[in-house]
Amino acid sequence: MSNQIVQGILLGGYYALIACGLSFMFSVMRIINLAHGSLAVFAAFALWWLASRFHVSPFVGLLIVLPLMAAIGWALQRFLLERSARGGALLPILTTFGLAIVIDNMLFEQFGADTRSLAPYIGSLSYDSWEWPGSIYVGKLAVIMFATAVILLGGLQLFLTRTRLGRSIRATSEDPDTAGLVGVDARRANAIAAAIAMVTVGLAGAFLGMRATFDPYAGAPQLLFAFEAAVIGGAGSLWGTLVGGIVLALAQTLGAQVHPQGFLIGGHAVFLVVLFVRLSTSGLGLRGLLRLPSRSAS
């Protein structure tokens, strides 16, 4: 049992990584990005393409893909999401849903339906493990993913609380109009936040490709896991995202012990329980559902 718990906690690191960008975009820009999973798969394909075509290690490839993802995030916010957000809360959801379809089919057209993986390009890291006391084997990649999640979330927390830009992003998240009145360029803050979110998506896509296989339509389940982790942990808190990821992964791991099909069902069951508890205590609004702080400023 202790082995399953350790594996679940480590898998939670991956879910926290994939949920991080989703909850960050929602908490700052109030946009639910339904293209989130597809963008992660796009990043995985970009790394796979660099590795297979130019023999670039996926870890080195991140030096190219992460800035590219940041640029995509910035452009998406500036030219697509910002405009669609002016049309109300529903329009960005529809816009990102359409974007996900475009990305999925673009990847299908370019790379076909074959499943791919980055595992062949990272040597033995994809299957190497350490033996811990009690005959617990932990995968090196899983530990790296978990450490990356903790460092990323901690770094983001420090960035948001200790830097001028971080404070500007938080102010914009809380009240964009008043942020402008104190000298914050809310458009710029949102675009930078979208760029940061896409960098986290790029990282999640890299680990998706390293730990599993992916195909052009693999984005939807990743979006589902991200959404479940964000709801369980609460999108208003970065560390809550880690907790949400761990709870989801533990539920899946323990569910798999109960029944061979229990992996997904266990996760969905915990998600639904949290969802019903949240809805019964906070009402039907997304703010309560995702445990976002109040936006009222006085």
Binding site: T161, R164, R167, S168, R170, A171, E174, D175, D177, T178, A179, G180, L181, V182, G183, V184, D185, A186, P293, S294, S296, A297, S298
Partner: protein, 242 residues
Amino acid sequence: MSLLSVENLVVRHGLLQAVRGVSFTVQRGETLALVGANGAGKTTLLRAIAGAHQPAAGRVLLNGADLSSVPSHKRVGMGIALVPEGRKLFVQMTVEENLLLGKTAGRAGDWSVSKVLEMFPNLKPRRHAKTGHLSGGEQQATAIGRALMSNPDVLLLDEVSLGLSPLIVDRVYAALQGLIASGTTIVLVEQDLNRALSVSDRVICMLEGRVALEGPSNAVSRDDVTKAYFGLHRKSPGSVPA
């Protein structure tokens, strides 16, 4: 040249014309009080000067520079700071973080967190408290401090006494007197006529989006302003007819 000029400003909220062709100037170091009943257009006028509302006509000039196409965040960098009605603090952030946000525009000047805390000593022990947990007076002090942190040429104050106890209002106004004495240029929207007249050099009374009365505060009586306030009298000794 006037520090701030408002020329024939018209601001609409949809079909409603909230400000109807208002013009006035503010000299450097002057304190101008804007008074008027609820709905007279004072807050809209102040927010239009700060760039929060786009005027339908007219223009705002700062040191002769037309601000018509300048967004609100850039106006802060040019020297306009607004203390909005209701404070509008970032309640998930601490007092210090709110104050530091005032520095975002990067304008050079003397104001710092420690100077604000000297001006409002009651904020010192609350420096790391979230502003959502502060009293109304502490919140108002933080809002004024945040605006001062941008080292403004013109400080726009909207209803600073609203919702505060008389004792707290006295403290806030004592701090404002210090700012006025130091030569800070202030445009003050205030419902309390006595306070508005006592701290300002000049007063403008607005009625239904227009200037109903304008004149030096020491030459305008409370009775004159009250009549203009209710639209009963548009001229008074020492006033400039609107």
